[in-house]
Symmetry: C2
Subunit: 188 residues, 2 copies
Amino acid sequence: MDTKEHILQTALKLFAEHGFATTGIQEVTQTSGIAKPTLYYYFGSKEGLLEGILEKFFKPLLDNLTTVSNCPSDVPGSLYKFAETVFKFAAENKDFYRMLLSMGFDPPQSRTYLIIKPYLEKEYEIFESFFKAAQQFHGNMKDREKQYALSFIGLINTYISVQLNFDLDIDSSFVFRVVHQYMYGIFS
Amino acid sequence: MDTKEHILQTALKLFAEHGFATTGIQEVTQTSGIAKPTLYYYFGSKEGLLEGILEKFFKPLLDNLTTVSNCPSDVPGSLYKFAETVFKFAAENKDFYRMLLSMGFDPPQSRTYLIIKPYLEKEYEIFESFFKAAQQFHGNMKDREKQYALSFIGLINTYISVQLNFDLDIDSSFVFRVVHQYMYGIFS
DNA sequence: GACTTTATATACCGATAGGTATATAAAGTC
DNA sequence: GACTTTATATACCTATCGGTATATAAAGTC
């Protein structure tokens, strides 16, 4: 049994269920069945534990999104793949995504937000670059890459939030509808 | 000087800046320049303080949204008024809206989420009823009132979140663009 | 003027927060 | 086999948490 990994998974579950701030280190160690210094041996601090979680989960998602982003000539296809990637990731890592959504709306000055900020910015950059590159193939997007990147991430996270809270699952037709709504609005 | 109101405002500011869980009652009373039992005299508990804040700020917003919702024959006009109402409210109550956004993504089982949940549900219902009523005037919406209500609120909150964090201000053309994007997508 | 209600302060409570000093057992290294 | 590194446990630290018992001063009520 990999103790470090076990602690990390236990902590993630508790953070997702009760929130980072309201989950004590004591609760993590007790639930993990280990002693407190063991946790501090591996992660150094409560924030170090959070960084360990982010490093493990967020990096792979960013890598996948980067891969998808390299085809700006096909906007509809790429958006569909983006959405599919994130929906799938969220479904496979529910605890992590729940924690992520929660922290993504923490006060901008809070310690927790400062820790996830670089990851969120990287995610945003991937989408912004994509929409910027897409403009050379899609004339009528008018320098609105910032607006489109933000609202696309926002729309996806809105739907994921609902899915997580009501334990729905997604199929490909759902992903299609979301992307379709994003591209063509509600009147089509 | 209204002591109760003064405590409430101070607490709201601290909750918005540092988060509810990470703001201590001690910090609230110290910043307010009052003693702890005074706070407990007015609000009973930390959660009571939160309820006081919600009661004061969220109710008026819901009232305004209800008023706007009574014209389902004019979808574009109504959506514009909805968006304008929420954007304006957020701009006038930045601390409250920051706190609201943050708590709206707290873990669904957490104490804080359970406290704001009824308010968020009421807000959602207003939009859902609107889209449902709008269908008798707007044929091609296909029983998707849930989807539309969710994504409309989500889109607006996405933009508000950015505005709050980067201290942008909104003008009517911005509101128009957001609603336009929602109705007709990004390709128009 | 006696009595009640409203509002505020001093001083304290047990529980828990995040974190550590110290010891030690096991495992790898020479 | 001596030595170092890795990994874990006991017991403890100080600070702060949310909350309260008690006292009292002012203001309204009769």
